[in-house]
């Protein structure tokens, strides 16, 4: 079990007049080595949830277990080791870069966790490769890179600690569509090829749909859904109407098709290719008459 939340509640300073996105009795379990997508609108508590994964926040009620660490209200576990094993990438991580070379920034984490310089350097190189950049980036100034490259370097700076669990908050925000797709694929590889546990917060479900095996939907600090992609597709209409979940077009198209032809029991087709092929088969089966010119 990588992550196990037992009725976790978190309240920002309760006496505060301004309300913040808190958590209310969130229970969830995530297996090791799975790719999880967490969806929900701004203010749904996603970011608060993430900060519990590596002990930046501790629950005010309930119990959080991450790997073999337990976090409870008042408890004081060894956070340093937890933070090495659970890498947390914040939103717009490029804003945290501060060194004058990519190499130094990448080595910052490993050195903090007690690696010697040579090992830290090796980690830096490995992390760069993981995000699809090569060693030639090491001596470069991170502030002179393009937006997409800076984002990748910043993600690599967390990967350099070789965490077992990687948690990312909106990793693709503000990138161009092509870079978004690349980054999502990269994260997918991280899970499939290296066996990492990957947890991604996103409001664009479509991007992570090809990779995520589990979905969680948050709404106003509560977990309102957890299930497989197929279950997400089945419940999409309800999640949209009750919790204003932004349901991507590919799910809507499939659900409309499924409703029309009674395909609810099938594994949903969620890419344009698969869906087109399925439609073609439906047409061939003579279920519908082909209309219009061919």
């Amino acid at each position: 079990m990588a992550v196990d939340f037992e009725k976790v509640s978190f309240a920002y300073d309760a006496r505060n007049m301004w309300s913040h996105s808190a958590l209310h009795e969130v229970s969830l379990r995530l297996e090791e080595g799975v790719f999880t997508g967490i969806a929900g609108a701004t203010g749904s508590g996603k970011s608060t949830l993430l900060q519990h994964f590596n002990g930046l926040l501790k629950p005010t009620e309930g119990k959080v277990r991450v790997l073999d660490f337990t976090l409870e209200a008042g408890g004081k576990p060894l956070l340093q080791e937890l933070r090495r094993r659970v890498g947390l990438v914040f939103q717009f991580p490029e804003q945290q870069l501060f060194e004058d070379t990519v190499e130094k920034d990448l080595m910052f984490g490993p050195l903090n966790f007690g690696m010697d310089r040579e090992a830290a350097r090796q980690s830096a190189i490995r992390a760069l490769r993981q995000v699809g950049l090569d060693e030639s980036f090491l001596p470069r100034n991170p502030f002179h890179l393009s937006g997409g490259q800076m984002r990748k370097v910043a993600i690599a700076s967390v990967l350099a600690m070789d965490p077992e669990v990687i948690v990312l908050d909106e990793p693709t925000a503000t990138l161009d569509p092509e870079s978004r797709a690349e980054l999502a694929e990269l994260l997918g590889r991280m899970q499939q090829e290296e066996g990492k546990t990957v947890i991604v917060v996103t409001h664009r479900i479509e991007e992570m749909l090809p990779y995520a095996g589990t979905w969680i939907v948050m709404h106003q600090g509560k977990k309102v859904f957890q299930g497989s992609p197929a279950e997400l597709v089945h419940e999409a209409a309800r999640l949209e109407s009750e919790y204003h979940l932004a349901v991507p077009a590919c799910i809507k198209v499939w659900n409309r098709l499924a409703e029309q032809y009674g395909l609810e029991q099938e594994e949903p087709c969620l890419t344009a290719e698969q869906t087109a092929a399925r439609i073609s088969r439906l047409l061939e089966a003579g279920d519908i008459e082909r209309k219009g010119g061919g």
């Binding site: 301004w18 609108a41 701004t42 203010g43 393009s146 937006g147 997409g148 925000a173 503000t174 161009d176 569509p177 092509e178 870079s179 797709a181 409001h203 664009r204 479900i205 479509e206 204003h244 932004a246 991507p248 077009a249 590919c250 198209v253 409309r256 098709l257 029309q260 344009a272 290719e273 869906t275 087109a276 092929a277 439609i279 073609s280 439906l282 047409l283 279920d287 519908i288 008459e289 082909r290 209309k291 219009g292 010119g293 061919g294």
Partner: protein
């Protein structure tokens, strides 16, 4: 000014921040009043610079920009400024006032509009953008989507003819992005605004009338959004991905299933597919 006068007439415009690195070279195009144009292209292609030139925040090195028939220059910018509004990417960094009300009023104050009229405009445009109940709020109490609505209300309150959106939706979540798109569509329908949006967002491009594709400081293509999303090479060069319904239709085409022309011309992309595959 007649109706036929283009909103923008750009002739042989070049621009460089430093002589060694030209950003834009020899651009020429016109934009009709009341139309909605998307400026697209990969990062670093100069589209944000072009937006600043069109908004009069930068001056061209060579060539000429005419706004509604008037040459845009340091002498005319003061007067032309009131015709052009700009909405930027980061909702926080364009929130000048310390409350919603003050922020909407900021531009009106610059224009020395009398207090009574200011109050009226602040309230009516806040209502229009559905933020009337937030007037006394501090920006820290607002979501990104709400702040972006404030930014739009602040611009609309100045009653410009031309509005430039510089990646205005890119920092918003999906829901807020959808809502912003609806606001833009509504503005388009009103017909009183010429709109220019710089964006990577497929749906936003699709909602506009025309896409100007920039690449390496020049115009690589000038076409309808529909044509843009059919051209895989161009899409790749712009690092864009077509909206899902368009991709689906393309895949259907590959399998020999085509959509009749008359359906293609009308309505939303998504709706084009349904007549084809739904049972009667």
């Amino acid at each position: 000014m007649t109706e036929e006068q283009p909103a923008y007439h750009v002739q042989h415009v070049s621009f460089a921040y430093s002589p060694e690195q030209p950003v834009l070279s020899d651009l020429s195009f016109s934009i009709l009043p009341g139309s909605w144009v998307s400026l697209v292209g990969p990062n670093g292609c100069g589209k944000s610079t072009l937006a600043k030139l069109l908004g009069g925040l930068l001056a061209v090195n060579e060539g000429m920009i005419e706004v509604q028939g008037i040459h845009l220059s340091s002498a005319t910018i003061g007067k032309l400024r009131s015709h052009i509004g700009m909405v930027f990417q980061n909702p926080d960094n364009q929130f000048i006032g310390s409350t919603v009300e003050e922020d909407i009023a900021f531009g009106l104050e610059s224009r020395c509009i009398p207090r009574e009229e200011m109050k009226e405009r602040v309230h009516s445009y806040a209502e229009k953008l559905e933020i009337g109940h937030l007037l006394s709020k501090h920006p820290a109490e607002l979501s990104g989507g709400q702040k972006q609505r404030v930014a739009i209300a602040a611009i609309l309150a100045l009653e410009p003819d031309i509005i430039i959106f510089d990646e205005a939706s890119s920092m918003l979540d999906e829901r807020a992005r959808g809502e912003l798109l609806d606001i833009l569509r509504g503005m388009k329908e009103e017909g009183r605004y010429t709109m220019i949006s710089i964006t990577h967002d497929a749906e936003e491009i699709m909602a506009s009338d025309r896409a100007i594709v920039l690449s390496d400081g020049g115009i690589a293509a000038d076409l309808t959004p529909w044509e843009l999303f059919q051209d895989d090479q161009l899409l790749q060069a712009c690092r864009l991905i077509a909206p899902y319904p368009v991709r689906l239709e393309k895949e259907l085409n590959k399998l020999g299933i085509t959509v009749p022309q008359e359906i293609r011309q009308s309505g939303e992309v998504e709706d084009r597919i349904w007549p084809l595959i739904l049972k009667k």
